[in-house]
Symmetry: C2
Subunit: 200 residues, 2 copies
């Protein structure tokens, strides 16, 4: 049976190991790479070779960084009295894209999940407690997802932070997404939106 040339086969196999890329997608991507400008393919390859060593974790907030501190922690213009706790770097990036929040972040590195064997020691919770003791922020926002695991992690953090003397602990509002159709909202969201109603 015909095998692809080994260098091509190797790229297909390495691509297949990425999440959400099956054998068919890996083959399609590899063929697309072969049709592209060789300089572009090499550029992607070199970027990947450099990636593991070039990207570090911020020693303060555990977001991705290039040196000791990430761009947010190194920015003197950020409000150090506000700390937003999220599960992953992509969550912090989503909040940054909204271009409104000006405080600091803390990346947990995941959510508590006893069934998957992920406990408090697997997340950066001890470092968070140490950090709030040093920073003494006026408010800690627990911006984990409003899912079972996100809610449970937020509740655990609330207890830990309260014990550490932080009194102003908040969580983002639940309600209807902007632009949503009311009659398409699920029941739980609708109940939360009504419970959280505000004076106009």
């Amino acid at each position: 049976m015909l095998r692809y040339p080994r260098p091509l086969q190797r790229v297909i196999e390495e691509l297949e190991r990425l999440p959400g890329i099956g054998p068919k997608s890996a083959q399609r991507l590899a063929f697309a790479l072969l049709k592209r400008n060789p300089a572009d393919v090499r550029a992607l390859g070199e970027a990947l070779v450099a990636l593991p060593e070039a990207v570090t974790r911020c020693q303060e907030c555990f977001n991705y960084a290039e040196g000791e501190l990430c761009a947010v922690c190194a920015d003197p213009g950020r409000d150090r009295r506000l700390l937003c706790v999220v599960a992953e770097p992509a969550d912090a990036m989503a909040i940054e894209r909204a271009n409104d929040y000006r405080g600091l972040y803390h990346i947990l590195g995941g959510l508590l999940s006893p069934l998957d064997g992920i406990g408090p020691d697997d997340l950066t919770i001890a470092q968070l407690v140490d950090r709030v003791s040093r920073l003494q922020p006026a408010e800690v926002i627990l911006a984990t997802s409003p899912s079972v695991e996100g809610d449970a992690t937020a509740e655990y953090l609330r207890q830990v932070l309260a014990a550490a003397g932080i009194s102003n602990i908040t969580r983002p509002a639940l309600g209807l997404p902007v632009g949503a159709e009311l009659d398409y909202a699920d029941q739980v969201t609708l109940v939360r939106a009504l419970q959280g109603r505000r004076a106009m």
Copy 2:
């Protein structure tokens, strides 16, 4: 606004340029790469850096190869009296996977498509004519897809090959896919399946 570290941003941008990978997928893939074993990420990167120069085109059939000839053309056990013409290397691979065909291939490099400006000179048609003159195959199978462009390309090739003295030119059968439900088949396929009926 927070930017990702430049090496990470660079990987995301290079991934975004691949077909079928949007900004969200590129970000998800880049994060998945950061969580993987650094040696695996470097292995993918090195495979990509090597790809453009390591993979050549077979001088006979234009399939992907590692040297002058692809694995099929270099194999003395293949039946040189049978030539199967396909649009792309992936088509030849699909036929190889079926593990039945034992002849040679010819990769056109695409299909005729006047609207996209792809004419006979953009495909390996002159090389095909030269090759059948040398090989004098007993049969040429035109295995382009049964689509508008695939049918038009096959018809064009039939005329060119007939003029070059090849009399036994065939095309794969049209009919119901194995395992299909008859009442889900589209009308055109059903008509072709009935027209092509065979004695049991």
